[in-house]
């Protein structure tokens, strides 16, 4: 008897994009070779593919596992697993593919190692994962699309607020919607930073405009307040542009079509 030594090349790759994340595991089935049969087989554990993690958040991946499992003798259930999801290889198959959705790293899976080790297989029985291709699952793409559309709305709002704030010297000419838009934002700024007097001055001025009255602040006070608010909203806009660009980049990295609403919102922010 001789114990088979598996010298698989474990070229672990980062599972980005649709390119294969893992190529040629070598034989994952490690057995005692009796010459006329294989016994005491164990499924070797390797990381077949990385989970999808974006901005520190794990997302469900769709793993396409291409494999060869030429093996006869006893029937055995071996497969792949990602967290609680698993699927089994077809015994005897060559160049076959199974698709599995899961949120965690992908590993070989043997639900009953003690049973497997008690089985007998014909010489030459082997299990080789040729490639694993990682893509965001349909559910993940839906989540990302929702995030993109939400970010598009936030970015559009941030752009509008910034554009509105830049025009603070014409408060008296604004319509009610425009005034209310800035008023709501100023109220939240005041709530978050009650010590900032500039926010309060601008909020008072907007309230005066809504009541059809001139601002109580002096022109200098109003100018200082306006520039402070513009700087704050510009900083917020820059931050939102960065968030939106990261989402667009994520679509590109996974070879998915960019979300139209988000790219339009980014273009609008760029013109502001």
């Amino acid at each position: 008897m001789k114990r088979l030594t598996i010298l698989g090349t474990l070229g672990l790759g980062l599972g980005l994009g649709a390119a294969p994340a893992f190529a040629d595991t070598g034989n994952l089935l490690v057995c005692v070779d009796l010459g006329f049969a294989l016994q005491r087989c164990q499924l070797r554990d390797v990381k077949l593919a990385d989970q999808i993690v974006e901005a520190g958040q794990p997302y469900e991946a769709q793993f396409a596992v291409q494999y060869d499992f030429p093996c006869s003798g006893h029937s055995v259930q071996l497969g792949v697993r990602s967290a609680d999801s698993n699927k089994f290889f077809t015994q005897g198959a060559t160049n076959a593919v199974i698709i599995l959705n899961g949120p965690a790293d992908l590993h070989p899976y043997d639900p009953s190692p003690s049973v497997t080790s008690a089985l007998t297989f014909r010489p030459g029985c082997s299990l080789n994962v040729r490639t694993v291709t990682v893509l965001p699952s349909t559910g993940t793409v839906q989540i990302w699309t929702g995030q993109a559309e939400s970010e598009a709305r936030i970015l559009n709002l941030s752009t509008n607020l910034y554009l509105v704030s830049k025009d603070y010297q014409s408060l008296s000419t604004w319509n009610v919607d425009k005034l209310n838009l800035l008023k709501a934002k100023l109220e939240s700024l005041v709530a978050v930073t009650p010590t900032n007097l500039n926010y309060k001055v601008m909020l008072n001025s907007v309230n005066s405009a809504l009541q059809g009255q001139p601002p109580s602040a002096t022109l200098d006070e109003l100018r200082r307040a306006g520039e402070d608010v513009i700087a704050t909203l510009r900083a917020e806009l820059v931050n939102e542009v960065a968030v939106a660009q990261a989402l667009v980049d994520r679509f590109a990295r996974w070879q998915l079509a960019a979300n139209q609403a988000l790219t339009t919102a980014l273009a609008g922010a760029g013109n502001a």
Binding site: L34, G35, F36, A37, Q39, R40, S72, G73, H74, S75, S114, V115, S117, A118, L119, T120, R122, P123
Partner: protein
Amino acid sequence: MFNKMTVFASFTVAACVAGTAHADGVDFTPYGPGGVQWTVSVPGFVTPFNYGARTAQAYSVPYAAGARGGCFVVSPQLPVSHNDGTGNVFPDFYSTWEAVINKRQTPSAIVFTLQVDIQAANNGPVTTLRRQVSSGQYDFTPIYFPTPDTILYWGDLDSPLANPSVVQAFRVHKDDTIRVSVCDLAPESTIDVRHLVVQTIPDDGQ
């Protein structure tokens, strides 16, 4: 006048072996839940004595006036990888026997012995079981009356696989190894050993 009978070997190919036999002469098929049936054919036989000859179908030991002692067909050691259970061993063979015996007696000589050696795990102790195959199990015919009180009988036994008359049953334990032998062929007998078959099956299906 007595004409010595010429025995022609029966080259019936056993049909129970699934798949293609391997070059080393040991094949197996799954047997029951978690069990294995090993089938050892001629290339897998160990033949420590020169009593016979290998053909494509059998190890053939020809007629001889004297006895052929010792185990002349031996299998490789076959492992039990499953949990404790039961085992059966039987040979697939064709054999002839002849003898002059008294009219009042029934043929009951020992023609050959089927031996099973079960070795416990880690080169543990060996348990040896022996089952003698008697001429009484043969299909025999009175050929000639050498004297008024004696008869020359000739008989043959073409054992299909799993013939209950030659099955040796025993207990097996995980990591045992099993070796099957055909031993001690009687005078004026022949045997063609085609296969040695070992079945083991776990009690719990694993």
